[in-house]
Structures are given as C-alpha cells and as structure tokens.
C-alpha cells in the first residue's frame, strides 16, 4: 500500500440503541481501537444510522481528513449502503469503507458471555481496520446498455414480464419455442381463487402484448446462442417456418391427414400435424408441427400434392437483459406408478382437467364411456419423494420438493366435480394439505363440509392401486393405511384414480449452459438470494420469471414476472448499467500470461490472455472483461504469480484480517 503513511482511519462502534452495548462493552472496544495504528478517531454512538450518527461520520471525514472508515454495527445487509452513502456525501470514495457485524454475529449470539463478546468485537474491529488499510478507491463498472430485453418463454410469466417491461418504454423481443403463446395456463379452465376462465384471462394479456408496439414476438423460435454481457448481450434466435400462409392455411388444415397425440389435451385426443391447439389461440394462423410432420405430400383441392418445408431463419438481437421464463412440465408418472399407464382408469390431474373441458356437455362424469361413481385423488405424485423409499428418476434424482400448487388445484377440482356431479363420491388421499395462499384454505374447508372423504397416508407407505378382481363393482381397488384412523387399512373401490402430479423443471440444458445460470438440487433455476436478490441470477442481467425457478401458481408467477420486469427496467432504464466493482483485476506487473485463470474460469468472455507489445517485445497478459466476471475468484487461487485478485476482496486483505483475529489485543487484560 503506497499511501500507508497517509492513512487516516475513523472507527465507530455503534450501541445500536442497546442491542450491541447491552452485551458488548462498546467503550472498551472504542478505546482499544483508538490505539490501533493509523486510527485517528474512534467513537461510539447510540445509533450511527441516525441522521446525527451519519453527520458525525461526514464531519470527521471533512474535518479530520479521514480516508478510511470502519463501522461496527448491525449486519451489513441492513446499513452497509447507508454508510457508503454517508462517505459519498462527505466526498470520499464509498469503497473505502469496511463494515463489521457486531449485532447478529456478536451481541445477539453471546448474550451470556459479555467478556467474550467484547473480546470478539475487538478482534472483529481490528480485522476490519486491517482490511481498511488495504482498501483502494473503486469505481462501479459503468456500461452502456441496450434498452431492449429478451424474454425467453411466451407463457403467462413471459407475457407479463414482456408487457411490464414494454410499458416502461423499453423494447422487448419475446421468443416462444412452440408455435403459440400462452403456455401451460392455456390448458386450464376455471382457475383458483377467482374462478375466472384461464384462457379469457390470457386472451386479455396476449391482446395487450400483441398490440404493444414495443414488443416483437417470435414463435416457433429458439435462442441458439448468447454472447456478450449485461447491457450488451447478442442473442441468436432461430425461427422455424410457420409452414402455412393466410391464403392456404385453412385448406391445408383441412387436407392434412396425419395425426399425432394432442399434447394440449395431454394425449387424451389426437390432432393433425398442421394444427391450432384451441380456438382463439395466438397467433391464430395454424402451424406445422415440424417434429412430427414427416414430409407427407398434401393435396389441395385435387391439385398437385405439395410437400411443406421448414426453412428456418436466423436473426441476431441485441439486448441489455434476459428474462428466463421457460416454465415447467407436469410430472409424468412412471409406467405402473399408482397403476399409471397400466390401468386405463388412472389419470393425472391435468388430464382430468382437459377431460372435463372436453366433456362439458355431459351431465354425468364418464371415463372411457363408463359412468364414474367413485373417484379418488392421490396427492404428492412426483413431489415430496423420499430418498430410499421412492425410486429415483432417470437422472438418478428424486423430487423431494413440494410442488405447492397441487393441493389447492386438487381441492379446486373436487369443488368443480361436486358442483357439476353432485352424486359423485370423492376420496382425497393426502400426506399434508398445503393450501397456503389467500383464500385457498376455503377449498379445504368446503371440501370437508361438502362430503369429500379425506384419507391421510404416510409418504413412506404409499397407497396401492390395483385392478379390481373380476366381478367387483368397481374396476380399481385402492389399499391405503389411514393415519387419521390409527392406520386402519382401508380398501376403496373406485372408478377413477386421479394423480395430483407435481411440477418439474423443463429440459433446458442447452439454455442453462448458454446463459451460465445455476440450478438448485431440485433442478429449477436458482436466484442469487431469495430475500436479498430475488429473481436475479448470479449472471448479471439475467433474471428469472415464473416457474422456471420453482413451483408457483399463476398469481405467484405473475408476481415473479413483474419483479423480473422491474429488475430489467431498473437495470436498463437509464441506458447504462452500473455494477459493483467486485470483479477480478490483473496486476500487470506480476502477470506473465500463464492462462491458468482462463482455464479455470466458468464465465464466457470474462477473462482472456492477450498479447501486447511493450518496449519492442511481445508480452502476454490476462485481461478481464469486468461485465462478464462474476467475482467468484476461482482465478485467484490458481494464479502461480498471485497476479490476480477480486477487487475489494483480495487475498492480502483476508490475510490481514486473519492475522488480526489470530493476534492479541493490546489491552485485552482490561476486558477479560
């Protein structure tokens, strides 16, 4: 540190209104810190975050020429920014500040050991001072930003995020993989808790999105590559041909003969390979399902048969931020899981919802042409699986998470059934009922009062679903131990079994690798921090919307989408981005371009070895692109020349802090 002789450190030990001082002897801490080298002032304060407290800091900076500030107070998450701003107001670089947590990590956890807590405060403050000596002024990374965002996924979350962003004056490119927008929500009918029709709600949102001049929609399109960094991403979007035109669409639709299972109805029906999923879909123009269309010639009006051809087009879009709204897939039970795939009377809840929509005209519930008198719902299928009990999935993992929405969705469906088919007997086999949302508990109460019979099974002992014996009154028999009746073994004959399947993350491996975003152990995408940085990923400028990051209902997906949009608008709204300067920095004098840092780095374009000419000689040296650097520091550990560090978090700063903690405090004897 070249300016060591000019260091003037101010140290403040906050009472936090007694929260700290009731346990830590702040006066002794302040006195001990006052005798540390380079410390020009050491004060206590009842509440440093108050206006008066901050004014004192500013005054010391101005009047005493303080050039480093160390504050021991509450957790940095609460007031680090507050105090950095005080430095800015006093004309000091805000990164010449070191925060020490004396409340959550000292006084609140050592309330029975006042001497120990005071000793610890001294060591922590001394460590803070040691780091402060090695702080350098830093500047936020400022980058020009493209005032356009990419939204990947045209379900309800992607649509909402796109609209929110566009309504704040930014442009949006929305990319949807399927030929139609609307996502999973379009497959629902009445949705809880308002009982509005899902597609009616969607239609209103889609109309606003489509009519917004700032939003460009690509359907049947995929993001194939992403380069660049926050503010300046370039995404390559490949769009497949629609395959039909306004002029020939209806004729082709009518003439197309090839059929495949209709995924919109979860395989309950079949559709053509030129199709619309449902009336009123957007875009209204039918599309060719290129995955299944195998080049069959189609004859139009007796003319020459024509063969449709997919001619993908590629477009590069420059965006400042990316919203990942790739959604979820409903869990597909394994063959034989609760009889699924083996007994035709076993269906999933999404299938039942589509079945009810398709057979609305009927007055009686039927399945496979037979009347349904008794129906059983089984909760937690593909959710809350237990290691060692449930069979791992293909990837070797189990879904140990709760999918959250299935309880209310199931109870909502039982209500629909009771209303439409009053004579129906309904059994609800559950582990726990988690109707956590506002108004959701009403569905449980109404089901209880409405005659739904609840049976509680244990996750380690699943209900057994088998075909009934010949001559039985019902085709399926369920055997289950009911913990509500002291594990009585029940046999429930039913006509239909409905599996309340959970949510699983979509297969988006390519996209995950492309964007370098992280996934949790549940394989959903991971935000940096659920409370401190919700919907943000560790990749600057990439945010999450909706069920891509975990099971959510529509309401929560919309909230997450709006949060993601707000982050994007806050980031790009000014046309430039400002990032924390805690990224890797190379010491040009020490670096000789070994490339070890490049080899270890996981972040595309964050660091590269470049060749320079200096004094007529070619030299190699690592160069960091700050916007692409996450600040993880993997490069720091591998550099043989110790030529790279994370700014504000350097190894030498850590070593100084360790030395301070390991050392003795001069007047410790007075404390202990």
């Amino acid at each position: 540190m070249p300016d060591n002789d000019k260091l003037k450190i101010a140290v403040y030990t906050c009472y936090c209104g007694g929260n700290i001082s009731d346990v830590v002897d702040c006066e002794k801490v302040a006195k001990a810190m006052g005798s540390q080298p380079d410390v020009v002032v050491s004060r206590t304060d009842m509440s440093l975050c108050s206006d008066a407290g901050q004014s004192q800091i500013e005054q010391d900076i101005r009047e005493l020429g303080v050039n480093r500030v160390v504050i021991g107070s509450c957790a940095p998450t609460l007031h680090e920014v507050t105090f950095r701003n005080a430095l800015i107001r006093a004309g000091l670089n805000p990164y010449l500040y070191q925060h020490v947590g004396l409340r959550e990590q000292d006084s609140w956890v050592h309330s029975n050991d006042h001497a120990g807590a005071t000793r610890k405060a001294m060591h922590l403050m001394k460590a803070g001072i040691a780091k402060a000596r090695l702080l350098h002024p830093l500047e936020p990374i400022r980058l020009q930003a493209e005032k356009q965002a990419l939204v990947i996924g045209g379900g309800v979350a992607g649509l909402r995020a796109a609209l929110d962003i566009a309504q704040q004056g930014l442009r949006v490119v929305l990319v949807e993989k399927s030929p139609f927008v609307g996502g999973r929500m379009a497959q629902l009918e009445a949705v809880f808790p308002t009982h509005e029709n899902a597609r009616d709600l969607l239609r209103g949102l889609i109309k606003k999105v489509v009519n917004h001049p700032g939003i460009k929609i690509y359907t049947q399109a995929e993001v194939m590559g992403v380069a660049g960094y926050v503010g300046n991403y370039c995404a390559q979007v490949i769009q497949h041909s629609r395959g039909v035109t306004e002029e020939n669409a209806e004729a082709l639709l009518s003439a197309c003969q090839q059929e495949v299972p209709d995924e919109f109805n979860y395989g309950l029906t079949r559709r053509k390979t030129i199709y619309r999923p449902y009336p009123g879909c957007y875009p209204p123009l039918p599309a060719v399902d290129w995955d299944n269309y195998q080049g069959e010639p189609i004859s139009l009006n007796g003319g020459e048969p024509i063969v449709l051809e997919d001619v993908p087009t590629s477009v590069d879009v420059n965006v400042g931020a990316i919203v990942v709204a790739t959604g979820f897939d409903p869990y597909e039970p394994r063959q034989g899981e609760y009889g699924y795939g083996e007994l035709k009377e076993v269906v999933t809840l999404p299938q039942l919802i589509r079945h009810l929509a398709l057979s609305k005209a009927n007055h009686a519930l039927e399945w496979n042409g037979h009347p349904v008198r008794d129906v059983a719902f089984i909760h937690c299928v593909g959710s809350r699986e237990i290691e060692g009990v449930d069979e791992p999935h293909e990837d070797g993992r189990i879904n140990n998470y709760c999918s959250r929405v299935c309880c209310t969705a199931t109870l909502h469906t039982t209500e629909e059934l009771r209303q439409h088919f009053p004579g129906l007997n309904i059994y609800d086999l559950y582990q726990d009922i988690r109707t956590y949302g506002r108004g959701h508990e009403d569905y449980y109460r109404d089901a209880l009062l409405g005659g739904v019979r609840f049976v509680r099974y244990h996750g380690e002992e699943h209900p057994q679903v088998t075909a009934a014996s010949a001559g039985d009154t019902h085709p399926v028999l369920i055997r289950v131990k009911d913990s509500l009746t002291y594990n009585e073994e029940l046999e429930i004959p039913v006509d239909l079994v409905v599996l309340a399947v959970g949510m699983q993350p979509r297969q988006i491996d390519k996209l995950v690798n492309m964007l370098k975003v992280s996934r949790g152990t549940d394989r959903f995408l991971l935000e940096v921090h659920p409370k401190l940085r919700p919907v943000e990923t560790a990749v600057n400028g990439v945010v999450l919307a909706g069920t891509a990051q975990g099971p959510m209902n529509i309401q929560e997906s919309l909230s997450a989408a709006s949060a993601a949009a707000a982050k994007v608008v806050a980031l790009l709204g000014r046309g430039r981005v400002e990032l924390q300067p805690f990224v890797a920095a190379v010491d040009a004098e020490k670096c000789n371009g070994t490339g070890a840092c490049v080899e270890i780095c996981e972040y595309e374009g964050a660091i590269a070895v470049q060749t320079f000419t200096e004094n007529g000689k070619e030299v190699k040296r690592a160069v960091v692109t700050p916007a692409n650097c996450s600040g993880c520091g993997a490069c720091v550990a591998v550099c043989p020349n110790h030529a790279i560090n994370v700014q504000g978090w350097t190894l030498s700063q850590y070593e100084a802090m360790v030395d301070a903690i390991a050392s003795d405090i001069p007047n410790m004897a007075e404390v202990a």
Binding site: T77, Q105, S518, T521, L526, E602, G633, V658
Partner: protein, 151 residues
C-alpha cells in the same frame, strides 16, 4: 492434555459465503441463539478464491479451526460446489504435509436460514478443539519432531 480449558480459547474462523453461510450466521443471530464467542465469521463471495496455502498460513498464524460455510450445489456460482470440494482435498494434502490435523478444516453447506446446521457445525468444531488443542502446540510438536527433539 492441551491447555484448552485455560483462557484464551482456541479460535475458530468461519469463511462464510454471502449467499449462504454468512446469511445463515445472521439468521442465527436474529434467533438469539448462543454459540462460543471464540468464533469469527468473515464473509466471502465464493471460497474457491483461496489457495490451500491460505489455510495453512492461517493455522500457522494461530487460527485453530476453520469452517468453510458455502452454498454447496445451491450456489449462484457454477464453480463453487465442485471447486470448493477440490480445494478442500488439495488443502488436506498440504495440511498433512505440514503436520496439521485435517479435522481442523471443515466444509459445510449452510443456507441462508440454516440456523441449526450453523450451530451444529460451530459447536462440533469447538468440541473438537477442546480435544485436540491449540494449533500452535501441534505445530510446535511437529517442529520439535522435525528437529529430532522429543515432542
């Protein structure tokens, strides 16, 4: 028997990730749950930045036990889970070479609300140090052995 019962107490350093262990330590504080005061938590962005020599140096300076509290596979940094495990293995190797008991370094996945796991890790390390004593004694013993003197 080491002089661990006497004051001062052995020192435990916790290197805790901002996205995991450091927030977990704050959560523990918000719950007002006590743990030994000789525990010092330093925030880190991602533990992969520390070379094995950093840990050995810390032990040699008088830190008796180190717990890395990272976010494991839930880390926002792609490199954290695998990178930290590899780092620990390399550090254990170096610790063995330097005659430092490898139990003095532990790796634990601690989330933002992992109060009980946080306490468990700290208390386990404190208990361990009661048994194995100050690192300076271990190092002195090593040096004495290296010079052929009785330990």
């Amino acid at each position: 028997m080491p002089d661990i019962a006497q004051s001062p107490q052995p020192k435990i350093l916790v290197l805790a990730t901002l996205a995991g262990g450091y927030a977990g330590a704050d959560s523990t504080g918000q719950s007002h749950l006590d743990y030994p005061a000789n525990t010092y938590v330093l925030p880190v962005m991602c533990p992969v930045m520390f070379p094995p020599e950093f840990f050995v140096r810390a032990f040699e300076r008088g830190i008796d036990g180190i717990i890395i509290m990272y976010s494991g596979t839930d880390s926002p940094y792609k490199v954290e889970a695998d990178g930290t495990a590899k780092l620990i293995n390399r550090t254990y190797q170096l610790m063995k070479e330097r005659g430092i008991d490898i139990r003095r370094l532990r790796l634990a996945a601690i989330c933002t609300v992992c109060v009980k796991p946080f306490l468990k890790e700290v208390n386990q390390m404190a208990e361990l140090l009661k048994g194995i004593g100050f690192v300076k004694n271990e190092l002195a013993s090593r040096n004495a052995s290296a010079q052929g003197a009785p330990a």
